[in-house]
Amino acid sequence: MIHDKKAHKYGMVIDLDKCTGCGTCAVSCMSENNVPFKEDESDKKDSITWMRVYRLTNNRPFPDTEVAFLPRPCQHCGGKGDHGHSPCVSVCPATATDYGYDTGIVSQIYTRCFGCRYCMAACPYHARYFNWWDPVWPEGMEKYLSPNVSPRMRGVVEKCSFCYHRYQLAREKAYANGSDEIPEADYQTACTTACPAGAIVFGDLNNPSHKVHQIVKPDPHPDPLNPDVVGKSRNPKVFRLLERLGTNPKVYYMSEREWVRKLGDHYLDGEWDKVKNVYGSASHE
């Protein structure tokens, strides 16, 4: 069933001009996915936040300073050439994470993971988090835990799953309705539905009727300048994080502000001016 159907490719586009940095996506994610918390969460390098909101600045002095916020879930990389060899998946020694070719979603199986953390080393987005502690909820608070996501134990890696359990439930619902199609509205991640600014759009990048496809207009052809890169956006305002590495994330970002778009990747002196108006890959064939 997986192969004889057209595969989905779930992805996201986040409008950084709408994002207010309020943090609702992060909390919605924690609440949805049974993410624990501990006494001190101010060390952001050991604080599990599947969805983390970064603060970007244009580094100009007062009063020309500008600020933007960038929410960063797992990028669900397709890997070089979008063949499914994500940086993290290919390195996991115990097959505790895999690339779902039917959805494009990168999994993480807590009961399989034994905590070598190679995937974390391989991920340039710091989207993967390690359970340095056993999660402990204050007395009684474990009553709010959701049965749809299994709580983790100490010593394993976890990360954003694009709320895969919502896909599972949407699929069950579709089956119960005798359908094979999952309507766009039936599978939305917790951050998407929570965002009060409506900055996040989620859906199937392969499905032209989905809003995310319409915004991103992913180019199916490899970038002629860098054949590892597939699925560049044909929308001039849309970019991906560290696109040049060839990780092929399925999370796209959108901004009217040039300095924000430029902060999505590294450019040598002068390179940005050459590429800033080049978008998609077919456009300069």
Partner: protein, 709 residues
Amino acid sequence: MKVDRRSFLGLGIGAVAGIAISPVGAKLTDDFSIWTQNWPWTPVPPDGEVSYDRTVCHLCPGACGISVRKIDGRPVKIEGLDPYPVNNGGVCLHGIAGLQYLYDPSRVKSPLKRVNNRFVPITWDEALTMVAGRLGELRSDQQPESLACITGSGQGSVPGLFKHFMAAFGSPNCLTMPDLESWLVRTAKTLHGDEYTLGFDIDNSDFILSFGAGVIDGWGSPVACIQAMGSRRQREATLIQIEPRLSNTAAGADRWIPINPGTEADLAMGMCAVLLKENLFDPVFAQGFTGGFMRFTAMVQKEYPLDKVAAVTGISASDIQKTAIAFAKAKMPVALPGKGRGEGAQNLKEFAAVHTLNCLSGNVNKQGGTFVKPMPKYLSFPDPLQDTVALKGSAAAPLAGSVQELVTRVGKSGESPVKALMVYNANPCFALNDPSGVRAAFEKIPFKVCVTSFMDETAMVSDVILPVSTFLERMEDVPSTAGLAATVVGLSKPMVKPVFNTRSPGDVVIGMARALGGDMAKSFAWDSYETCLKQVTSKIWGPLARRGHVVLSENPPVGSVETDFEFLAENPETMKPEGDLEFTLIPIDNFRVPPTVPAPSPFAIKTVSDRILKGTDMFVEINPQSAKNLKDGGFVTLTTSAGSFPVRVHFNDGIMPGVIGMVKGLGHMLDNKYVSGKGVNINALISPKIEPVSGMDAAFGIKAGISKA
């Protein structure tokens, strides 16, 4: 026969061989692997049937509709309710974290009384009897007016019950904490007379001139505001943000105009002067201008000439002129008062001056404009039965016009004029400026009852704590206030049975009144709060219970409103930060840190940036240009006339040189390790300063010094 080495060898090999071809090895290997995958201390949440239930969030004045996902009746997730007239599916982090408040470690689990500085659990009957005994003494001593009451918000049937209680008891001293709504009501009262409040239709406005209002930083009804801002670009509406610091709102605005802290009122007056000079005010709306308009016009022209305002505010004269003209020429302009969240210490002059801009623009009671709307009147309490004691007490002059004034008065007096105090849904010992002064004043009050869900700073200094259910455990009407164009009354319903031995606050008030007996009990003849709620909301109860919410005054007020300029024409003094130190310390309202009640949830604290809080260290923002010999991240001592605290500096280019910004709402001291002891409460660094014309604390910021620790 001799048992030798070889026999043992045989024994050993036999045993190994026997085990080897039995299933023990394979099975134990597999089981061992499974054993290491399921540790007994990792919780396994029980599965079950999914259901969704709707209610209303009361964590802030926003009053969003929320949907609670339950598994076999057990709430597991809060989401935004769609459709709902306030938030249309949106929700904020605090609402989502609402479930954490249910099981918060600092919840009060049963009624408590203080014995030798420790709290001892008592039964509800004991607690109510004790409260009634102490309060009854005041009435039998013929001084019911010495009971004071502080509530968080003034709206809704529960604050209504407290007012009802105070009236029946015979005390005029019922005060509310200074939230945005209370400022708006005061502003409306000053300019338009009693029984009005203000609302802003930022959803439809095409030009929003914000005098520091953190439209996406928690001002007003936060989710509704963020949604309005989310659609702003599509609507091509302009947002101009005037404040000393590049807040998130400023960062998202079309233009950020930095202004010297504390001079917003002067700027608004200056802009009024520009509009009046250029004749850019709406003549039709001006027909409603009554007292003092001419005097006001003359005064602003004289006292607020452009160059003077430019010098005071630090904004160039041309910017002021251009902005004022752009505002006046916009189709649907709105000027927003209320710095940050718009609550706490603000000042009436600024609110009035900013709202005067709205009045001059004439975009009042129109779509995309400012609404001068009558106070919601959906509640109808029966008149309280007042005996002679009550009548006499009620007639006494109120002790103060604001909570801060009351605290100051008690603090200064030898023997407290307040003999007993009830606090509900408020945490003045944390949220007011100079909290240690507030605590000292409270210590003078012989008897304090705290009606609260959490053991917060105010509960800790109380004599009796009456624990109330959280918003997810109780039924209550929740009117949206917070500057929305239309008032929405939502009905919150219990999503789960009370987790602890708590009661709904309405039942607590009724219980207290009944325990007092006599006419007090007769004034509270309801058998429960639910009956009371149905009766007092009888005008809207039907649709409220059926739909879960009612939108009041679907038809907004139309036409000109009488506007009185007397107050501003007197040119009251602008409330500037006090002191003569080098820097100005201003509070920052950060969306992720709720400012007052309840304290932040563990999730909310988790999202706080490490440039605000690191471990227990508090950061303050400072512009690197004025940092001199300080190091980014270094430890410093921050000193004001009110106190001195060790903090760390965070270099932020987005704050005016000379200004120090500090996030408000941290530094709680609660029995909750996830929240407590983190950072510094900025209020402890600010001494209150009463604005004479309003009686309110107007100390938004204060002069401060900073030195290497």
